[in-house]
Amino acid sequence: MARKSGMAVTRREAFALAAGGAALAAAGAGAARAQPLRTAARIVILGAGAGGAAMANRLAARLEGAEIIVIDGRQQHWYQPGFTLIAAGLKPASYAISATGDWLPRGVRWVQDHAAGIDPEARHVTTRGGERIEYDYLIVATGLELDWAGIEGFSLDLAGREGISAHYAGPEQAAASWRALDRFTEEGGVGLFGRPATEMKCAGAPVKLTLIAEDIATRKGNRGRCEFVYNAQAQNLFGVPVIHHRVRQIMDERAITYRYQHVLKAIDPGRRLATYATPEGDVETGYDFINVIPPQRAPQVVRESGLSWADRWTDQGWIEVDRHTLRHARYPNVFGLGDINGVPKGKTAASVKWHLPVVEDHLLAELAGREGTRRYNGYTSCPLITRIGRAMLVEFDYDDNLTPSFPGVIAPLEELWISWLMKEVALKATYNAMLRGLA
């Protein structure tokens, strides 16, 4: 017996050694970063959101001697993928709020002001406070602008009142939106959902919220009293055909009505009436609950900079970058990062994660006198929550191909608990790691 226990201890030690070895190997892999690149370049990053903060951290770690300037007047950083969870009553508003300054590395100068002008010819940015900041390289990471005025009759103070949800506006409005959804799923009536006709961030979010709302009503035992109507801007429920068919199937199974080519243009909060533009003219629909997601476009400072496409998205102003290198087509010292890019897909944090190494590669290659090689294939990801506790981890590229991260393990079109876990717990941790430049 004594000999046996001795063996058991030895085996434990062996396991401990093996675990230690694995940890060491992992640490080694992390430490094997490239030597810092020496440069005197002045790099301006416009915006300290997901893309800007992450890029500041990456460049601060990879460059020596560079002057890195981040321009952003916002003191709060918002974890936007969390807005759906807040609007579903699962997380408090504070879940998505942190301080911009907490994410920026030492050695980077943070100009706490908004940009008022960009002059790509003269290579400088002017702030609202009047400071003129010259640059050798500019990384545009401003994000986008929600055009609330594009919905007639709507104002942001309505969020959470009169059955109005506006969870895109911010953490507080998302929390207020939950109060409206909570009331609707208690009292019943007609719930309207939908998306704008412009490009938008996280095109899956309107669908998610519809499915979550239906699930909440079902759990409360009030499904029979609620009607759900999803208004798609196009002739599909999702831009990627294979995902459109899956979403349509789920909506059919759960008796959610959908209407194609219905774009919200106005609401009348007093009469609880929504007006939709359709190919056959305007259509009015009464509601007890409506989730308003407004048209989206580049911020004014970008639209007026001359960086936008001249012949595409002319009403929205996304910047003219090469879809694979994310480098500006006319100003090679300008790069685009995140939502602001005029590319066909990917206004999500997941896309930002894939933009980062591409922009970094091309910028560093340029500084080293080489050609960059990395290409962005349009990857984006959407943990499409289908009910509280289940999601589909859909990932796709420019060509509408599914690009699963875990092929054969996590099926993209299957409603899975593990995909829900990814969204609910793993996503914020990986997002934070991305912001720190670690993932």
Binding site: A8, R390, W417, E424, A433, A439
Partner: protein, 118 residues
Amino acid sequence: MEDFTLTTLIAVFEEMFGRALFWLMVAAALVISALFVWVLLRERSLKARRLVRSQIWAPLGGALAIGFVLWITNSRLADIGGPIDWIVLLGIFLAGGVGFSILVYVVQALLRPARGSE
């Protein structure tokens, strides 16, 4: 989900359970493991009777672990969808079972230390 390192994994667990609860659980697991090793070294053997008795409690530990994870992630058993969900659930059950057995073994050893060699 390009690179999934140890740091990311720790961050995921911190996010899942909250930082305080996660590290409290890690500390508890370490203390119980250390006590287990200490008991083994002190008695220089695994006591078969005590081991069997502790294993009887394993299913309860597994069930508790599953219940805990479902609660913390706003989920229900009905949410379990495809094969990977069942595999993860089985993993949680096994981890909970093994952990709980070790705990019960240690508690037995502390309450009724073995006298001499069996």
